[in-house]
């Protein structure tokens, strides 16, 4: 069975914004009945546009026009969108009206996919998956650190065998110091750049011209910060400005050898274009230090890596990540007696109920769930997926829900990795006798996230997207344990 669907990825970065629209097939494996997204084909790729700003605010009208234009050019109706996402990243996510913009985009997309802002771990994860997941899967023994360097932030992700193990974020980007194109005359400084110039004792402000040595000092600071993050050498970058530039530290485990470093984002695109034979663009032609940062990185110790390991997509890694990796597809036998309850968005993931959870654990979590009037989600962890274990856990949970008179209309979503959705849901609801607005989504790799979105039912499956990602450190321990 195959059915065609549309995927949309929208990335609103510090400097630029872009969209990619793809068609894909929902392909159901005749043996396992598991449905996957296959044959993802890009059908539309927008031009990169400067993220529109008016007086330090995002220009909501201009952004909305871009979104409408992209959807129209990609010939896609919001109703037919199965997955993907829209993400405000870098400094854009910190604009005062970022939340309002997110709400506008959600309305425009008719709530068809996640739209969120300021989710640096998600950005790191997406950039890694969008740029070098394929490379990582083929070189399973080699750790890869991807630096997604945009205008405002660098999102770092350490991955192994196609899985992101750890994420980090630094305020290292091309556009903290905006200059007049063709010169180094300062047009605007972010507050991070102001702190940095002060620490470097560079007494320059808007209207002043930076000297070559001053530019080099700024860039050396950035590269030192990146190197410290990649190598896990905190002492390299412990100044006040350095601490200010760290959003989420990337804690690289000790003893990790032969790390490959790749770069994505706008700076990554510049590096790989140059390596493929393109000449450098003219001095500061984008009005920032992106070209200079790219050049300095190419003279750093990582240059050899950049030459030898070219990622799948450098310039649009985040948007490709959104498109290809942000939507998981549920199992084909999920428990969903009432499909009309979907989509469910912004569901908080409140905890875990495991086979070895105590009755008190279950009671406490159920109490928490009951307080989430708009619905909430719980991860189910089965130690074994044999009949008695599943039945036992279901009956314990069922008993607690019954005893607490869990509201019958309140959405309750369970996420489980094993293919047990229908049987688990049926035992919990006593085969339909217990009235609950319960959804059990199975065959899902549950990510360490704060929120989940469950999309509408389409050909027996639902799209699932996570956001509000935690640092992936726990995942690393999981991966270690698995090995």
């Amino acid at each position: 069975m195959t059915a065609e669907v549309k995927l949309v990825g929208l990335d609103f970065g510090t400097t630029t914004s872009s969209a990619v629209i793809a068609s894909a097939q929902l392909t159901r494996n005749a043996v396992t009945a598991k449905t996957d997204l296959t044959g993802i084909q890009e059908v539309y790729r927008s031009e990169m546009v400067f993220t529109p700003l008016i007086d330090n605010r995002l220009d909501e009208t201009a952004l909305a026009q871009y979104v409408d234009g992209w959807l129209a050019s990609g010939e896609v109706n919001p109703e037919e969108v199965f997955g993907g996402g829209a993400l405000l990243t870098g400094l854009t996510a910190q604009q005062v009206n970022a939340s309002a913009v997110v709400r506008t985009i959600r309305r425009q997309l008719r709530n068809a996919l996640i739209a969120t802002a300021d989710d640096p771990s998600l950005e790191s994860w997406l950039a890694f998956m969008g740029s070098c997941a394929g490379m990582s899967r083929t070189q399973t023994e080699v750790p890869i650190v991807n630096l997604d360097i945009g205008g405002g932030t660098t999102n770092l992700a350490l991955g192994l065998a196609g899985n992101v193990l750890r994420t980090g974020c630094l305020y290292v980007g091309a556009r903290h110091i905006e200059v007049i194109p063709g010169s180094y005359r300062i047009r605007r400084l972010s507050r991070y750049a102001q702190e940095l110039l002060a620490e470097l004792r560079i007494v320059k402000g808007v209207g002043n011209c930076l000297t070559e040595s001053e530019v080099n000092a700024v860039l050396t600071f950035y590269v030192t910060l990146l190197t410290a993050a990649i190598e896990g050498t905190a002492d390299l970058a412990e100044s006040r400005a350095a601490r200010l530039h760290k959003v989420i530290p990337l804690s690289i485990p000790h003893g990790l050898d032969n790390v490959i470093v790749t770069v994505s984002g706008g700076v990554g695109a510049l590096i790989y274009s140059h390596l493929s034979g393109e000449s450098w663009p003219s001095t500061t032609c984008y009005g920032d230090l992106g070209i200079d940062l790219a050049r300095m990185l190419l003279s750093s110790k990582w240059a050899e890596c950049f030459r030898n390991f070219v990622p799948h997509s450098a310039g649009r890694a985040t948007v490709y990540g959104l498109l290809r990796h942000n939507t998981e597809v549920s199992g084909g036998t999920l428990f969903l007696p009432n499909p009309d309850c979907l989509p469910l968005t912004d569901l908080p993931i409140l905890g875990v109920i495991a086979s070895d959870s105590t009755d008190e654990d279950i009671e406490n979590l159920t109490s928490l769930l009951q307080k989430a009037r708009h619905g909430a989600c719980v991860r189910i962890e089965l130690l074994t997926d044999d009949g008695p274990s599943v039945r036992s856990l279901a009956e314990r949970l069922s008993g607690t829900l019954k005893a607490r008179r869990f509201p019958t209309e309140q959405p309750l979503v369970l996420l489980v990795t094993e293919n047990v959705g229908k049987v688990l849901g049926n035992y919990i609801t006593e085969w339909g006798a217990l009235p609950l607005n319960l959804v059990v989504v199975d065959e899902i790799t549950v990510r360490h996230a704060q929120y989940v979105r469950i999309g509408r039912l389409h050909k027996q499956v639902v799209p699932v997207s996570f956001y509000g990602l935690h640092d992936q450190g726990d995942a690393h321990e999981d991966a270690d344990a698995a090995r």
């Binding site: 069975m1 195959t2 392909t27 159901r28 494996n29 005749a30 043996v31 396992t32 009945a33 296959t38 044959g39 394929g134 490379m135 899967r137 083929t138 799948h312 036998t333 428990f335 499909p339 009309d340 997926d385 044999d386 009949g387 599943v390 094993e418 293919n419 047990v420 959705g421 229908k422 049987v423 849901g425 049926n426 035992y427 006593e430 085969w431 339909g432 006798a433 199975d442």
Partner: protein, 739 residues
């Protein structure tokens, strides 16, 4: 384009009363009532003929029949057309009479035995001329008189070259059809199997996919994909998606690249019409459409592709008393009408009810190849088997060696012998290259040039062709390792691409063979009733199959309740009855029942569905649910039964649930009848398959089964009608939401 003789213009003699053929041998009298019985008795003893009651009662009786047959003139065979159940000549038989009248006039007084001698003594041109004078029945008669050497010797005199982008069947050539089937039509898996086959030098006859889904959309999409792949790689060959002819013609109408038009054929009109949904008129239209609008118009001299194989008519019970060899020959008489590019014989595919062991399969293949070539067809061969027969890989390989000696035009390339969709075993690209090296054959010349340019083959200074440095390396067609790995992830049953000479490396062979061994063991395992009784208390019932051999060789026996069980069962006031039987894998029951049954019982009870004590049947077949449902007067039978194992060891533990709904209410029965077009419909069936740890886990399957049973009872429908009702319901809801 060949002119198709209108059916009405083909002269067929009037039907005569059956004649009794008698002879004596060492004072023993032998008598055969009618030509059909004589032809049946004259053949080697095969399971199909034995099951149909056509096989000779003894070896002497067979030789007696052969003796009579050898003395019958061709005119006698001409004057006695075989008839259908209604006693008339059907369209397939009629087409068989579209012979070269002048040539027949020169041969008509020859006996069948004299014709065999004539063919053995004559050069190729005369064998070809003689073939054009023969009907399928005459070819079958001669085949039954030939021993193995003769079947090979006469067939190898005839080369039947055909031309599309490549020239097939020229002397010294051995081609292959790449068959990259995938269980879900996943284009990644199909692509990788194409890459593998092409890297093995396979696919010069055709790249042809048997689709899992036979819809215009899906088939068109596959056609475009194969076309794009072929163009990108530049291999001179042709593509085909082996869907039903109607689907392909619709694809052609919409502009899809239907380069070669495929259809399976049977040797009786009733099988073609009622089972394959085709007629001579439809085939004629397809032929003309391809000649006028086919993408290879002007390039290809031939563009039709037919698949046949002994036993399909018998399996459907539509053989009209005609033996398997003769119905197969009648297929060839029909195929000949369309001057096909390829004819593909898959004798061995059906199972032990037609060919129980390697010997029977090999002989049938040699007969088929002989008859096809004699009747003027470009015969490709696919000696094959399923695990529930006693045909082995070694038997299949012996068949290919003999058929190559006989001059087969081409074989299949099913990667590592394992068809990932059809759960059977066929020849592989490694086999094809092994045969080319053993017998000094080469692929089609156009394809060979391309393969040499890709270093798949190398040409030495003396013109000798050997495997090249890229032989067997599918990665050569991928842009990156990542791309290759993505394709690999989507392709089941490919443990490795390592080879040793033209063969798969030993470690690969070992893995594939152990999978087959486990599959066979699952088929021959006996149901452990005592162990199953620990899960729940069963009522044990018997089928008419007295033992496993009878069960495997005759599907009918396992479909019927034994008289003792019929007596024990009586109507019960229960909506649902659960029936467990071994089917073709008792291991499937053993590995799933423990998780599955308690959930079904809990679920039905939880939903207040009345259920009787579960039944357990050894040697059961799918259809056993019907007499059980009628005897117990149940609304629904949940029949849990072991599936036919394929090439995946784990999948030999795969169980299916057949939810059989008994149609009793007259209005419901009318609705079912209108939906299916079958006035006599008594049951509707919903199937949930692949219940095993690698597919739908037993525990979850329990939940799915309970929900489906609830749907069946609520909607008073099962199968496609139920799906249609559920879809309409969902559409109505969506419509309501939209408003």
């Amino acid at each position: 384009m060949k002119t198709l003789t209108p059916l009405a213009d083909i002269h067929v003699p009037d039907v005569l009363r059956d004649q009794t053929y008698t002879t004596s041998c060492m004072n023993q009298q032998f008598s055969f009532q009618g030509l059909k019985a004589l032809l049946g008795a004259a053949d080697y003893s095969k399971a199909g003929e034995r099951n149909a009651g056509l096989a000779a009662s003894s070896e002497t009786a067979r030789e007696a029949a052969r003796g009579i047959l050898s003395r019958l003139t061709l005119q006698h065979l001409y004057d006695h057309p075989l008839t259908n159940e209604q006693g008339s000549v059907d369209s397939v038989m009629r087409v068989n009479y579209d012979v070269d009248g002048d040539a027949f006039a020169t041969l008509s007084t020859m006996t069948a035995g004299e014709l065999k001698n004539h063919l053995l003594r004559s050069p190729e041109s005369e064998v070809e001329r003689a073939g054009s004078a023969l009907t399928g029945v005459m070819a079958s008669a001669v085949a039954k008189l030939c021993d193995v050497h003769e079947l090979i010797l006469i067939a190898r005199k005839v080369s039947r070259p055909t031309t599309a982008r490549t020239l097939l069947g020229a002397p010294g050539r051995l081609s292959s059809r790449l068959q990259p089937n995938h269980p879900t039509d996943d284009i990644r898996g199909i692509t990788l199997l194409c890459y593998l086959g092409l890297s093995l030098g396979s696919g010069d006859a055709l790249i042809g996919v048997n689709p899992a889904v036979d819809t215009v959309e899906s088939v068109s999409s596959l056609l475009y994909h194969l076309d794009g792949l072929r163009r990108r790689i530049g291999a001179p060959t042709q593509i085909c998606v082996l869907a039903h002819i109607k689907t392909q013609l619709s694809c052609l109408e919409r502009g899809a690249p239907v380069e070669i038009l495929f259809q399976s054929l049977a040797g009786t009109e009733s099988t073609n019409l009622l089972e394959f949904d085709i007629s001579v008129d439809l085939l004629d239209r397809g032929y003309r459409r391809m000649a006028e609008n086919g993408p290879l118009k002007g390039k290809a001299e031939q563009f039709m592709y037919f698949e046949t194989g002994q036993g399909s008519e018998l399996t459907y019970g539509r053989h009209s008393g005609i033996d398997m060899t003769t119905t197969e020959a009648l297929c060839y008489g029909l195929a000949r009408r369309y001057d096909p590019f390829m004819v593909n014989n898959v004798t061995g595919f059906i199972g032990p009810e037609t060919h129980c062991d390697s010997f029977e399969m090999i002989l049938s293949n040699l007969q088929d190849h002989f008859m096809g070539k004699l009747l003027g067809l470009p015969m490709g061969m696919a000696p094959c088997y399923t695990l529930h027969s006693n045909i082995t890989l070694e038997g299949q390989q012996m068949a290919t060696e003999l058929l190559t000696a006989a001059g087969a035009n081409y074989y299949m390339d099913v990667a590592l012998n394992t068809d990932r969709m059809l759960a059977y075993f066929d020849t592989s690209g490694h086999d094809d290259q092994t045969l080319r090296e053993t017998h000094g054959r080469l692929p089609a010349s156009e394809f060979l040039e391309w393969a040499v340019s890709r270093h798949i083959f190398s040409r030495g200074t003396q013109g000798e062709v050997t495997r090249g440095p890229h032989w067997g390396d599918p990665t050569q067609f991928c842009d990156s390792e990542a791309e290759f790995n993505e394709l690999l992830c989507a392709t089941p049953a490919v443990p490795s691409f390592k080879s040793a000479g033209p063969r798969p490396a030993d470690e690969v062979q070992r893995e594939m063979r152990v999978n087959q061994a486990i599959g066979r063991e699952a088929i021959h395992a006996e149901l452990q009733i005592d162990e199953l009784e620990k899960i729940t208390s069963f009522r044990v019932i018997e089928t008419e199959a007295a033992d496993q051999e009878a069960h495997l060789n005759s599907p009918k026996l396992g479909s019927r309740l034994a008289a003792s069980s019929l007596d024990r069962l009586s109507p019960e006031d229960c909506q649902v009855q659960i029936l467990v039987s071994d089917g073709l894998s008792a291991e499937a029951v053993h590995h799933n029942a423990n998780d599955l049954l308690p959930v079904i019982l809990d679920g039905l009870k939880g939903r207040t569905v009345s259920t009787g004590q579960p039944l357990l049947a050894r040697y059961g077949r799918v259809k056993l649910a019907e007499p059980v449902a009628e005897r117990l007067e149940a609304n629904v039978i949940v029949h849990l039964i072991g599936e036919r194992p394929g090439g995946d060891a784990l999948a030999s533990r795969s169980l299916s649930a057949y939810l059989v709904y008994r149609l009793t209410d007259p209005s419901v029965r009318t609705a079912a009848s209108q939906f299916s077009g079958n006035e006599d419909v008594r049951f509707e069936v919903t199937v949930i398959s692949n219940i095993y740890s690698g597919g739908l886990p037993a525990l979850e399957a329990g939940g799915v089964i309970v929900e489906r049973v609830s749907d069946i009872l609520a909607h008073q429908a099962a199968g496609n009608r139920l799906e249609s009702l559920l879809e309409s319901e969902a559409d109505r809801q969506e419509g309501g939401d939209a408003q």
